[in-house]
């Protein structure tokens, strides 16, 4: 589904945060990217979604290059992204937030309505809160608004950055459940997480980064080995 080959990217000229990262996310799986704080996990997702342009290497979605495309073009390609920081539109209601997720097909009123309903079914708590200002919701509920907004376009690929950071364990568990449910709906998920244990648990494939480079990777069968390797390495 998504394939990165030898990607270099960064914020300042002559300073690459990503120094040759490669990864593949298979369709209908959860692929995790783990690593310590500051290794470039978020930078990786920003580069895939077009907020940064790769200076070298290729990024392809189903074989077609998407490197350097503008972020606002991504939904048309079936791609969506939930950044690490809080990013609901705080002054707008929950419903307005969700609606805006359907911006690309805004003229199709029926589809907007259908998608709204689907998301209220996925996240029932949002239905009750739909007239509330999104900025007033709790952290976990705001994450759900973000997930729901991302789901509006019925994405094929979803990039999620540290979805449970700062949330209570119970709420975090709920979010991981939702991600698995989305995978089961057929959506490919690329998950970036510092919470190594939890991430590995829900993933089908895991990449570990160190200093902007691939360090290790493993599929479900090799997780035990990966864990040991990581422990050793840390």
């Amino acid at each position: 589904m998504l394939e990165l080959r030898d990607v270099y990217a960064g914020y300042y000229p002559d300073m690459n945060i990503l120094q040759g990262v490669s990864m593949t996310a298979e369709e209908g799986t959860i692929t995790s990217v783990i690593g310590t704080n500051g290794v470039g996990k978020s930078t990786l997702l920003k580069t895939v979604y077009g907020f940064l342009s790769p200076r070298k290497g290729t990024i392809a979605l189903e074989g077609k290059s998407i490197a350097g495309a503008n972020p606002y073009r991504m939904p048309e390609l079936g791609l969506t992204y939930i950044p690490q920081r809080r990013n609901v539109f705080p002054e707008m209601t929950v419903e307005e937030n969700l609606q805006l997720g359907g911006w690309t097909f805004r003229r199709d009123k029926a589809r907007i309505r259908r998608q709204l309903e689907e998301n209220y079914d996925r996240f029932p708590i949002l239905r009750n809160r739909r007239k509330q200002r999104a900025g007033n919701l709790s952290g976990g509920q705001q994450r759900m608004v973000e997930l729901g907004r991302a789901m509006m376009i019925e994405p094929r690929l979803m990039l999620v950055d540290e979805p449970t950071a700062g949330l209570a364990p119970k709420v975090a568990a709920e979010i991981y459940d939702k991600l698995q449910a989305l995978r089961d709906e057929g959506i490919t998920v690329v998950l970036v997480d510092q919470n190594v244990r939890q991430a590995i648990e829900v993933s089908d494939y895991v990449y570990a980064l160190a200093l902007g480079k691939n360090m290790a990777e493993a599929s479900r069968g090799g997780f035990e080995e990966l864990r040991n390797k990581l422990r050793e390495w840390l």
């Binding site: 979604y49 907020f51 503008n70 972020p71 606002y72 073009r73 991504m74 939904p75 048309e76 969506t80 992204y81 939930i82 950044p83 990013n87 609901v88 539109f89 705080p90 002054e91 707008m92 307005e96 609606q99 805006l100 997720g101 911006w103 690309t104 805004r106 907004r149 991302a150 509006m152 376009i153």
Partner: protein, 299 residues
């Protein structure tokens, strides 16, 4: 000391003038909220709007003065959009090293350029558009000219239309989304550059409308926008940077404060000396005690 009639007359005048103040400030706050740029050329958009209406009505078209306003809005919409694409887009493309300083310099430069361009094209003498309607309305102690009433009424209509637009339409919501979280809006497929362009165009167009509305009342000269633009900054801070509702209420409030302040302070030489200063006093008080403004969000 003064009768109720007098105070009512003062308040009515403040209210009417306040609506005009508000319309200009609303454009400024809209631009700020979406682009995060303070438009120092806002007063000159107002001025160009006044001249456009004047020339459309008198020299070129012989249009009805009310149509002159419409033309002024169209011209400013175009001018604003072009300027945004050419000079402000680089900021949001990350092509500028010191975006804050650049934004100040480029809009200030535009202001200087427009003043001098109009001075050389239209000449140094003031021009007044024909009245929208002659006569006036007298209710009890209050007499207000028809021009002022029409201008204030149209300003209100335009502001309400804008509020409905940003509240209820897709484009309006997208503009709000960009103003609240640029990147998140882009993630949802909203083109933030386009929203910048629309917001700047509409903001400029509202300034142009205010200029066209005052053209029959106060007349236009190349630097007619200087004081109104200063006042707009005060109103925008008072109302909360980026809040349209705040700018509307702030504008009317400043209109009332200016006229009632002038009305009530006993010594006239002092009362009226710096009528505009009342606004500045409020400006400072707001910055000290409620920096987010009346309707702004706490950071």
């Amino acid at each position: 000391m003064y009768g109720a009639d007098y105070l009512i007359a003062q308040a009515a005048n403040g209210l009417v003038v306040g609506c005009l103040y508000a319309l200009m400030a609303v454009g400024l706050t809209l631009i700020f909220s979406v682009l995060k740029v303070i438009n120092f050329a806002h007063g000159e958009f107002y001025m160009v709007g006044g001249y456009t209406a004047y020339y459309m009505v008198t020299v070129l078209g012989g249009l009805h003065p009310l149509l002159g306003i419409f033309f002024a809005m169209i011209v400013l919409l175009g001018l604003g959009s072009l300027f945004e694409v050419a000079f402000l887009r680089p900021i949001h493309l990350g092509a500028v090293n010191r975006p804050a300083e650049y934004a100040i310099l480029i809009t200030f430069g535009l202001s200087f350029f427009l003043q001098n361009l109009v001075l050389s094209l239209a000449g140094p003498f003031p021009h007044r558009s024909p009245s929208f309607m002659s006569g006036g309305l007298t209710v009890g102690p209050v007499t207000i000219s028809a021009d002022r009433l029409i201008a204030a009424g149209l300003a209100l209509v335009l502001m309400i239309a804008l509020m409905l637009f940003i509240r209820a339409t897709w484009t309006g919501k997208a503009m709000r989304a960009v103003s609240q979280d640029r990147d998140a809006a882009a993630v949802s497929g909203i083109n933030p550059f386009k929203m910048n362009n629309i917001a700047f165009g509409i903001g400029a167009s509202l300034a142009g409308a205010s200029g066209a509305l005052i053209a029959p009342i106060f007349a236009v000269v190349p630097d007619v926008g200087v004081l109104p633009s200063l006042r707009s900054f005060v109103i925008v801070v008072l109302g909360g940077m980026g809040s349209v509702k705040g700018a509307l209420i702030g504008g009317v409030a400043i209109g009332l404060v200016e006229s009632l302040g002038a009305a009530l302070i006993p010594d006239p030489s002092r009362a009226l000396a710096y009528r505009e200063l009342y606004g500045l006093v409020i400006f400072v008080l707001v910055l000290l005690f409620r920096p987010q403004g009346l309707f702004g969000e706490k950071q």
